[in-house]
């Protein structure tokens, strides 16, 4: 790699040719303030907060986009630079509501932080001249507040380039520019999959999840309600970040303790129904392989992915496993099996999920997800919302003791835990399918080929003579690539795992902000650490799952399973308001 030498504020550093000024400054230990820039996205150079002086250049340069050249002399902290940055920020602020106290991102807002950092102390340019835009809360999972938008376009990039959904884009011009769904309609009326990746990259409070905290507080305060909570696999490796802990720490025990202190009657683990999913889905795969079923079979745990295939590939819905997601299996069982066991009326049971996901809020409201006549899941809190509730309750997360989940839905295996990372469902399924089909114990439970943050992964497994070719995709842009291969008849896989969000659920749209690829990698490591620490690593060895079949479900793919644990999908239009395409 060709290296070049540049001087940043008097220090000489050597960086690869083509590096940005921002990267060179970072190497010199200088953090240039940025706003529209995001480390995982392409450079926008929209906001001009990162301007620096380059000796010999006529004007200030945007550090995020300007490549360095050999011998370049850069000054990042001169009166001209400080004044320009501050004024650019003040101009942005002049069109931003001065409403921080009422904002979902108060104290967690990049614009607010910059205002403090750059020393903005008064509104020099008067009040807002931009038109006022109403909030759009039409979608089940997401809220758009265009009034707060600073037009950085990070959401657009993630929606188009990472997720290949393209639900929102810049529209109109000049002072009237907005980031809008096509036709300027509400988000609910376009093919948005509600993955919430936009909420992770929004620097301000212009995109965020629908709040479920108030309804959970109300349920917790209601003496008539028996409130049970389930925690998704990915929460145990990310909730600590809401309290300033380093990414990549496993805090399962503290999470349980925290939820108990919030007042939940039972603290259960979605990993339990993840194990159950593997039993049902594993048998479904074996059945499809043996009886000429539709292949490749594709996993169905990720509600953003489900909505994506429903909108964009509706003719391929029979490739999806009919298994409900672990969240929905849990809800269905909580209001039937558990209700029976605990002697409770399902109407008095209130099921709360803690999910790394915004699309789960959409999923729990799907009409088919109410096996008992009541919604299987009543409320879905994102990791961020749980953080908020714990702060409201004054619970000091880092000082909590480690506690154990309640029985029976708290007994889990490592296979359930790894659902949280891309490749995890595949690996968990292979651990079980191998042993069921071959009747032999796996020499090693680790299928490392399907692990990691890489967009598309492939592997081949030998089930004693039967070769099964599998693929794993994370991020909908990669899912689209696999679907196009299937469409062209070029995919010779038998089983495909697809997760909507980059990295899998640990990188979900409901996770703590920031969620970057670096942080995703640390959370993935933590997931496999949690897996390796558990005495049981295979779903079919989960004793509580075995008991569930003995006492209630009878057998995998049986009548009760069909009724409670399996579902069907809906053909949707790419253009929900029209009948084109």
């Amino acid at each position: 790699m060709e290296m070049v030498k540049v001087t940043v504020d008097g220090q000489t550093v050597e960086v690869p040719k083509g590096s940005t000024i921002l990267a060179a400054a970072k190497k010199a230990g200088i953090k240039i303030p940025t706003l529209c820039h995001h480390e995982d996205l392409n450079v926008n150079a929209m906001c001009r907060i990162c301007v620096v002086e380059v000796v010999g250049a006529r004007t200030l340069q945007a550090a995020c986009s300007q490549p360095v050249s050999d011998g370049m002399v850069i000054i990042t902290n001169s009166p001209a630079v400080r004044q320009a940055r501050k004024m650019n920020l003040e101009l942005l602020l002049s069109n931003h509501p001065q409403d921080c106290l009422n904002c979902v991102r108060n104290q967690r807002c990049e614009l607010q932080t910059l205002a403090d950092q750059l020393g903005v102390q008064q509104q020099r340019f008067g009040t807002k001249t931009r038109p006022e835009y109403p909030k759009d809360d039409s979608a089940a999972a997401l809220v758009r507040d265009p009034d707060k938008c600073i037009l950085c376009r990070r959401c657009v990039e993630v929606c188009h380039d990472v997720q290949s959904v393209g639900a929102i884009a810049p529209a109109n011009r000049g002072i009237k520019t907005q980031i809008l769904p096509a036709g300027g309609v509400d988000l609910n009326n376009v093919a948005c999959v509600q993955c919430g990746q936009c909420t992770l990259v929004c620097p301000v409070g212009a995109l965020y999840e629908q709040d479920h905290t108030e309804r959970v507080w109300a349920a917790l305060a209601d003496p008539e309600k028996h409130v049970v909570v389930q925690t998704a696999p990915a929460i145990r490796v990310s909730i600590g970040e809401e309290f300033g802990m380093e990414p990549g720490q496993v805090t399962t025990g503290q999470l349980v303790a925290a939820l108990r202190r919030l007042g939940f009657d039972r603290v259960f683990d979605t990993d339990f129904t993840a194990d159950l999913t593997i039993i049902e889905e594993g048998h479904e795969l074996i059945d499809r392989l043996n009886n000429g079923g539709v292949l490749p079979m594709i996993t169905s745990c990720s509600p953003g992915w489900i909505k994506f295939i429903e909108h964009f590939y509706p003719e391929y819905l029979d490739h999806l496993s009919t298994c409900k997601s672990p969240q929905q299996m849990f809800g269905a069982l909580a209001k039937t099996y558990y209700a029976e066991k605990a002697g409770l009326d399902p109407k008095d049971i209130y099921v709360v999920s803690i999910m790394p996901c915004t699309a789960k809020k959409f999923e729990c409201g799907r009409p088919e997800m109410s096996s008992t006549g009541y919604p299987d899941v009543d409320a879905v809190l994102t990791t961020r919302e749980l953080g908020k509730m714990l702060r409201q309750a004054g619970i000091v997360f880092s000082e909590l003791p480690e506690e154990q989940y309640d029985e029976p839905f708290g007994i889990t295996t490592g296979a359930g835990v790894i659902f949280g990372a891309s490749g995890g469902v595949m690996e968990a399924a292979l651990r079980t399918v191998y042993e069921v089909v071959t009747n032999e114990t796996l020499p090693s439970v680790d299928f490392t080929a399907v692990r990691g943050i890489e967009g598309i992964k492939e592997a081949e497994v030998d089930l004693k003579g039967t070769k099964v070719k599998v693929a794993v995709a994370n991020g909908l842009g990669n899912a689209r690539k696999l679907m196009d291969l299937i469409k062209e008849g070029k995919a010779d896989y038998q089983f495909i795992e697809i997760m909507c969000c980059p990295g899998g659920c640990i990188g979900g749209g409901g996770q703590p902000i920031p969620t970057t690829n670096e942080i995703r990698k640390k959370r993935i490591e933590a997931i496999y650490e949690a897996d390796a620490d558990l005495p049981l690593r295979k779903s079919h060895e989960n004793p509580a799952v075995k008991t569930l079949y003995e006492e209630f479900l009878d057998k995998p793919l049986g009548e009760k399973s069909h009724q409670l644990l399996h579902t069907h999908y809906t053909k949707r239009n790419k253009y929900p308001q029209k009948s084109v395409g």
Partner: protein, 156 residues
């Protein structure tokens, strides 16, 4: 120009799309010709274009709303565009506007009930030498006064 609000002759749109879809970067040409069919770009037209080019409708909508000469809502048969730049302003564009508003009973952004005229602003037409100026569809008019504006409108 064709009359507004008539049903979309989709065969024409497919001809336009067939002509351009092999050459990347032709969205603007497609939008321009598609708009000529019935005077504006409906959601349906935008969706057909998006589908054929394989790009999200949100992007097509973004382009269609960026340029002021593209319309996403029906407009009148004749679009009156009054120059709002400084020279025309100084030379009395406000009086011209007031006369048109009074004569037609519409404000900028509106269309007469009979669908004949729409009124809007435009940035500089490059006719500062004959300010104040306006355009009606493709025709330009300069040295405007209240009387002259009434006369021009009545001639349509």
């Amino acid at each position: 120009m064709a009359k507004a609000n008539c049903p979309l002759p989709t065969s024409n749109l497919s001809e336009i799309l067939d002509k351009y879809k092999q050459s990347p970067g032709s969205l603007l040409e497609i939008l321009r010709e598609a708009q000529a069919i019935n005077g504006y770009l409906s959601r349906e037209v935008l969706q057909l274009i998006a589908e054929e080019l394989g790009i999200p409708e949100s992007k097509v909508y973004g382009v269609a709303t960026f340029y002021s000469l593209f319309k996403t809502t029906p407009t009148g048969q004749y679009i009156i565009r009054i120059c709002e730049s400084a020279p025309c302003h100084i030379r009395g564009a406000q009086d011209v506007l007031a006369t048109i508003e009074k004569t037609l009973g519409i404000k900028p952004g509106e269309t007469t009930p009979d669908g004949k005229f729409s009124l809007e602003f435009t940035s500089c037409l490059g006719l500062c030498g004959v300010a104040p100026a306006m355009m009606i569809n493709d025709q330009v008019f300069g040295n405007l006064t209240g009387d002259r504006v009434r006369e021009i409108i009545n001639s349509f």
